[in-house]
Symmetry: C2
DNA sequence: TTCAATAGTATCCTTTTGTATACTTTACCA
DNA sequence: TGGTAAAGTATACAAAAGGATACTATTGAA
């Protein structure tokens, strides 16, 4: 039996969402709207500048978020979800639902 | 602003689904039902034994799939989705929907 | 005149993922 | 007597992801 091409579609979505910080970044932007680099950084305790930059660049590359640079000093850069990015919301929502509902399942071993 | 704990729930789901082969394995098991190791292997062209074993072990560890060994020679081992594993279906479905719908978006650069 | 603030780079290192290849066990079949 | 099948293990290696730390440019404020 051959694998059907449709099965692989799941990986497209997964590929975009995978990364230690991407889902959280997206949820933040969905919830708070446009955010500055430093605001995101403050919201994500533990993330390094390098990681945040990298994740944002990758999301931008996929058209999921938009980056706007204001020519100022000190610099100001704002990030926001694109319309396309918003189409990921059902997935994020499904994951959030599941995560909340099954939070207790893990604990059963303790 | 502190990050809310609920946001992190998303990662629980993501953590389970992440891996080059996990979503495909799960979709197969959901669609075909119980499968032997060798059947899965044949269905996943390109996967190595080691990888398949590893992914299956991880899914088993999370109670997403069940592994049944028949004491025979040559060996027979069957894998199937657990009831708990089935609760992931909405997420898989949302990802599949999205992937199918937005297949064309990627192409726009070509 | 020195310091802080913003949004990054640069470098180096560790951990996790993934790949390739060879090897194992035991019964059955030719 | 030797080969094959099934479900793995063992070993070595390559690549990707993630982390820690230090550094940069520019301006305004103390």
């Amino acid at each position: 039996m051959e694998i059907e091409p449709e099965l692989c579609r799941v990986e497209d979505a997964l590929g975009i969402l995978v990364g230690k910080w991407k889902p959280i970044i997206l949820l933040h932007l969905l919830k708070e709207g446009t955010q500055r680099f430093s605001e995101l950084k403050r919201s994500l305790p533990g993330i390094t500048q390098k990681m945040l930059t990298k994740q944002l660049r990758e999301l931008e590359e996929e058209d999921i978020i938009e980056r706007v640079v204001y020519p100022q000093v000190p610099p100001k850069v704002e990030y926001s979800i694109t319309e396309y990015g918003k189409t990921l919301e059902p997935i994020l929502h499904a994951m959030h639902e599941w995560g909340t509902k099954h939070m207790l399942h893990k604990r059963k071993n303790y």
